[in-house]
Symmetry: C2
Subunit: 420 residues, 2 copies
């Protein structure tokens, strides 16, 4: 028998308590012992909840209770959660969390406390998909070449709708909010920050690299327009918010941004609220993991998988995937050293010579054009939609500045990376 305290009985916490009861028979058979949701901790004891677990608002009493074997942290936030988790580990209690923000900031400190004590976090990345499991245990024979993931269901829902139904960003955001797929303040999702937290966790397991959200490139989907969608359709791309981790020599790229993805790639086929993560290993090649990235029950499925693992074997694999330090000389690739293909949306006046001027500026910056589409606008303007051959981020940024300075464009150019 294992006694479990659930710190935070909200969306995910309630599901954990309920599933442990609903599926008790099969879970006990798999785990080899009973997993008892003994006590739940909440902020507000007066809130009505659809869950049958004893509740308290006294976290410390729970952490001090020697009969509690496993602490499941589902309260969210960073500082208070860090305090709670740290105290639990110090008390020798196993910890399971779904808190990606906590791990994005404190995974390496927590690793120190979790040397001999189980600390698991499957639900923190891509909800119900066992991607931590796959990367940390399933692909250990490989040097990871790259990870490309759709790790935010809100963004994927919105981008799928934009591409399938031609709906503009603001309208689909409202729809997503009405449906409960997006928060009242959607910035954390649509700005790419949620995906970035998850990416940092995967980057640690793949490459042993420590980085904070502030250090990596993060761009959201807010500026995507129907012109970009038209370009995507014309050239057989999908648009996805991707989290990308990639090794280039002894440097690691970590970046989150919208990207054009060729339609024949498996991740291009991941639509709606679903998540999908493609991992390329040097020996196995590409594997891809698909499923629901959020939702109470789906996320609780991953939390309980961790609890079962702990019940079966105590401390399993090393928290971040390495028993010994590795590759301490791997460094983060500077943001402006990224190399990829780029799409530019340039609003221009419909006048002779404009295209020549643009081509000259791009050429002077070392950028060559691969594909182009011209779309008329009102007021004798046009949108030039173009894709470059592979070039360096610094050169594109430079070219965008040059284009603005030269006044050949009538608006700040929009840029989206192409991941082929």
């Amino acid at each position: 028998m294992l006694n479990i305290a659930i710190i935070g009985v909200g969306t995910v916490g309630s599901s954990v308590a309920n599933i442990l009861k609903d599926n008790k028979e099969i879970i006990t058979a798999r785990a080899g012992r009973e997993l008892i949701p003994t006590i739940g901790v909440v902020n507000n004891l007066n809130k009505k909840r659809d869950v049958s677990i004893e509740l308290t608002d006294d976290i410390n009493k729970v952490l001090d209770d020697d009969s509690i074997d496993i602490v499941v942290e589902l309260m969210g936030g960073v500082d208070k959660a860090y305090e709670v988790v740290k105290k639990a580990l110090e008390k020798g209690k196993a910890v399971v969390t779904a808190n990606k923000a906590l791990l994005a900031y404190h995974r390496y400190e927590l690793q120190e406390f979790a040397q001999d004590i189980p600390f698991e976090y499957e639900a923190a990345v891509a909800g119900g998909i066992p991607i931590i499991n796959a990367l940390r245990e399933g692909l250990t024979a490989n040097n990871i070449i790259s990870i490309k993931g759709i790790m935010n269901g809100t963004c994927n829902y919105m981008l799928t709708k934009m591409i399938n139904e031609g709906v503009e960003y603001n309208q689909i955001l409202k729809e997503a909010q009405d449906l409960g797929y997006a928060e009242a303040d959607p910035t954390f999702d649509v700005g790419g920050f949620d995906a970035a937290h998850k990416l940092l966790i995967l980057g640690s397991i793949a490459y042993g690299i420590d980085a904070k959200p502030e250090e990596i490139l993060i761009e959201g989907i807010q500026n995507i327009t129907s012109f970009d969608i038209e370009f995507a359709k014309e050239f057989n791309y999908s648009i996805k918010l991707l989290g990308i981790a990639k090794r280039v020599g002894d440097e690691i790229e970590l970046r989150v941004h919208p990207a054009f993805v060729p339609n024949d790639q498996m991740i291009a086929k991941v639509d709606g609220v679903m998540n999908g993560i493609s991992v390329i290993g040097d020996k196995v090649g590409e594997t891809m993991y698909y499923g629901p990235g959020a939702g109470g029950d789906a996320t609780a499925s991953a939390v309980i998988a961790n609890i079962v693992d702990i019940a079966r074997r105590g401390k399993g694999s090393p928290m971040l995937g390495y028993e010994k330090s590795f590759n301490k000389n791997l460094k983060l690739l500077p943001k402006d050293a990224i190399k990829t293909k780029y799409y530019l949306r340039l609003e221009v006046n419909d006048k002779a010579g404009v295209l020549a001027k643009i081509a000259t500026i791009l050429g002077d910056c070392g950028i060559s054009i691969e594909k182009m589409l011209q779309k008329p606008l009102k007021n004798e303007k046009s949108n030039l939609l173009l894709a470059t051959h592979t070039c360096v981020e610094k050169d594109i940024i430079n070219a965008i500045t040059e284009l603005e300075n030269s006044k050949v464009v009538t608006q700040k150019p929009a840029m989206i990376r192409i991941e082929a």
Copy 2:
């Protein structure tokens, strides 16, 4: 340091030995100790091989060697492999295998010997995809509703070519043989037996059900024609060889056969030699796992993942996923009790009244038609391609017999199941 003996240094065995050397640095960091491919066992010591490991043809000497910690069985076959693996486990050596045939027949006997000793087999199902890992550890919170998998790359390659390029079965088989995707005797792959072995393993983890290949429905892809492909295209289906495990009340369906799959399902998007397995859990919903199902390096990636697991934590999860017996009352659903939708291809004479006669026979058998397509043939014949509403397998078999007896069809009807 762990000493590893590789029994069978063929396609997969050579890759295991080579990857343990190539990726030694990262594997050691992940495993926490050195994994040494100490000795390899082969049949024919004179064969030229591209691998640098000491070789012997004396299996018993290796099994008796107390310095060997892990035995990796990659020789294939059933009886001899069973003997080898059993002896290794009795000697207290951990065992890793990629041998699905061995497990299809002996997994429950082997489980007895593997109570306290690690016995792992990730590579036995879907090669490089960590699907055993996902099902046995990642989804433990769930009652599994169904598993639908594309688990044979040869068949998927052939079916993809047939559908994309309109090539007939015999021609594409020859192509696949020339490319090395199909064996000289392709029966094991195209007849569905390889997929069946893998399905039985997944069925055990999902449902704790024991079954042998002889007890389940297995049909191959040999009788698929371009008419079936045309029907698929017309109604937006793909054709896949599926392994299906599904719970219906207290009975379990286990079956392997070609199936029409709606194009919007994720597994319909798994093309070419790749494998993909969709699992639906009652709490998590659908997750899908995609990747290479065969090939030396991809398969070795999974074998080595098991070795790393053993190095990290010795005995991990219970071999077939259950610490305690569960659901001993679950029984195999009889083959003729399957309920699904069916496609029939009926060759008929182009005469008035034929359709009415067919509709009457089907109706009398309790079968109603959902979709139909008529395609003219030479000699005043036609192919009627039709899809039924959901009905029972027994009724379809009965209807096919009635159609043949009535002489309304000029050839034995072909039937393909539809998985929507």
